[in-house]
């Protein structure tokens, strides 16, 4: 049975940028273990020669032409912003480097 530990859940929460409280971690870890247990059987279902399906319909080569289409005004773009300044989205200080 694939047990998922409290520490693993905490790590995943960090990756997913969710600040889980201790109580939430206590609550979530066993629930996730139960869910994972119920889906674990999947690893034995399909043999190696079965191709994966990522799209239900086999479409390919759907393109748009390189033609400008009117978008949003800066005012519309910024209308939902929690904060803005100088026609830009204002965000709290960034600690990490760019990728």
């Amino acid at each position: 049975m694939p047990e998922i530990t409290r520490d693993e859940v905490a790590h995943l929460a960090t990756l997913a940028r969710i600040d889980l409280s201790d109580a939430e971690l206590d609550h979530l870890a066993p629930q996730l273990s139960v869910i994972l247990d119920s889906v674990a059987s999947i690893s034995e279902v399909a043999s190696a020669d079965v191709p994966p399906t990522s799209h239900p319909l086999p479409l390919t080569n759907v393109f748009r032409e390189d033609v400008v289409v009117p978008g949003l005004t800066a005012e519309q773009a910024l209308a939902g912003a929690p904060e803005s300044e100088q026609q830009r989205f204002s965000v709290p200080r960034i600690l990490g480097d760019e990728q």
């Binding site: 889980l20 939430e24 889906v39 674990a40 319909l57 209308a79």
Partner: protein, 516 residues
């Protein structure tokens, strides 16, 4: 008194409303006002009433209705449904109308653009009554996971209306709207349809544009109609369906006429139609009253000329597991954009001086997402992690192939497949809230269609003996053969309505005063 002669316009079907508009017997403003009045009477809020709506736009709807009446007066209606009001699930972007997806994290967000389907209903002249309640980001089968409180089932206000599109189904079942748009990722149109006694259709993947649908699981999501009759679904499907260059996964080929297929089905003749009953979608864990009504409906179909065979789809037993890996994986990535930087909620962490962007993201996502959403984001993050990807996500995609093969084999033998839409009738509010697995089992019968991209429809097939609550029959067809759903669905509907001596919803309790 039959519905067609009732003076209460909300009791009519959308097709009847359209005819009355065309005949000049009623105006769109009258129709729209009648529905707004009904909403005021029964919808209430999180504390009492059906609570199908998160946002009602009375002013906007009436303005659109007036414009529709002017077009009619000028002899220029835009189509059959011009003037017939509609409700829209809150997961579809509506320019100028709040769109929350049932989540606190999007509280107050007003999109600067319309989803393609919303643009199409506006262009076709349908006044938008408002936005309907849903499980947060469409994660759930009961609408209890809405951050704004649950919707109640019009058949019994202590019970769930299904989910995630419980709001759209309940609005239609409670005669608050004749038509609604829903979305279906694993059954979110069909299962609410089944438990509220309404009709719901999940079209072929790619049949209706997803542009402007806030994605839950992109490879599974489809927009579809929620109505009280099969013909109404066909009418709405024709308005919103068809190719959209803004959705790369949209199918670019002409649609068969769904309305024609529904009218043909209403003739109650199923001669020459072979239907397959899926053996894996019945048995242990299925409510006896659900199976009994389903079996009776199948007998009626045989009497109407259909040939019935039993069909095995052995991979369907793995569908739920595959679904609960693919869905959280895609969802965990889709929901990353809700990070407090560009729109929506921004929560500053407590006791932190000058918090960083990352700290604000984490605090906001903790405060803004509900339990079920967090559960699925964590699960999806896990399933995509290096080291687990092949065993979980990769394997789930293979199971998808097996399920498609089962469908292919089955449709080599039969024209359509049948099953009950959901294993049980509507359960009580709160009953399964702390048991995610039990909740997930509701979608057992609906999920395979999403995994394979084939279309499905749920049509009411009676009330279960043990609780007197609606039961749904699911019809599944091959990809792009949505017209078969309408033909068979309309036949089932006509056969059973004849037997019942009226629509099933006529037997639902009167809700007058429910809002108090």
């Amino acid at each position: 008194m039959s519905a067609a002669t009732s003076t209460d316009w909300t009791r009519r079907t959308a097709a009847e409303m359209a005819d009355a508009l065309a005949a000049g017997e009623v105006t769109s403003v009258e129709l729209t006002q009648a529905h707004l009045d009904r909403i005021a009477e029964v919808d209430g809020d999180a504390a009492a009433g059906v609570h199908a709506f998160l946002h009602v736009d009375a002013e906007g709807a009436l303005a659109q209705a007036r414009a529709s009446d002017e077009r009619r007066a000028a002899g220029e209606p835009r189509g059959t449904l011009d003037g017939v009001p509609i409700a829209v699930k809150d997961v579809l972007a509506t320019e100028g109308l709040p769109t929350t997806c049932g989540s606190k994290i999007l509280e107050g967000w007003v999109p600067p653009y319309d989803a393609t389907v919303v643009r199409r209903i506006r262009e076709a002249g349908l006044p938008i009554l408002g936005k309907t309640n849903m499980d947060e980001f469409a994660m759930g089968s009961s609408t209890e996971h809405s951050a704004y409180g649950p919707t109640r089932n019009p058949w019994d206000l202590d019970r769930i209306p299904g989910g995630s599109g419980g709001g759209s189904a309940a609005a239609v079942a409670a005669f608050e709207a004749p038509l609604a748009l829903g979305t279906d990722t694993g059954g979110s149109i069909r299962q609410p349809g089944a438990v509220t006694g309404t009709v719901g259709v999940k079209p072929t993947y790619g049949g209706i544009s997803r542009y402007g649908l806030v994605a839950l699981a992109n490879s599974l999501d489809q927009v579809g109609p929620v109505t009280r009759t099969v013909l109404d679904s066909a009418l709405l499907h024709e308005v919103v369906g068809g190719h959209d260059p803004l959705d790369s996964t949209s199918v670019d080929q002409p649609l068969p006429s769904f309305v024609e297929a529904a009218r043909q089905g209403a003739g109650k003749d199923l001669t020459g139609v072979t239907v397959g009953v899926i053996s894996e979608l019945r048995g242990e864990g299925w409510q006896p009253g659900v199976l009994a009504r389903f079996d009776e409906a199948v007998e009626r179909m045989v009497a109407a000329g259909a040939e019935v065979v039993e069909v095995s789809c052995p991979s369907f037993v793995h569908a739920l597991a595959a679904y609960y890996l693919i869905l959280p994986a895609e969802a965990s990535s889709n929901l990353a954009k809700f990070d407090a930087m560009r729109y929506g909620l921004r929560v500053l962490p407590e006791g932190v001086d000058a918090p960083s962007a990352e700290e604000v993201m984490r605090a906001t996502r903790d405060a803004g997402f509900g339990d079920e959403v967090k559960r699925r984001i964590i699960l999806g993050t896990y399933a995509l992690s290096s080291g687990y990807y092949d065993a979980y996500y990769g394997q789930a995609q293979k199971v998808r192939t097996l399920i498609s093969r089962d469908f292919e084999a089955a449709f080599g033998q039969v024209d359509v497949l049948l099953s009950p839409t959901a294993p049980t009738t509507a359960f009580r509010l709160g009953e399964k809230l702390d048991d995610p697995l039990a909740m997930y089992l509701n979608d057992l019968a609906t999920i395979p269609a999403n995994l394979a991209g084939v279309p499905g429809l749920s049509v009411p097939c009676g009330l279960a003996e043990e609780d007197g609550l609606p039961v749904g029959l699911q019809v599944l067809a091959p990809a792009l053969a949505d017209d078969r759903l309408y033909r068979v669905g309309a036949a089932v509907e006509a056969l059973l309505t004849e037997e019942w001596g009226g629509a099933l919803l006529d037997r639902a309790p009167e809700l007058k005063g429910a809002a108090q």
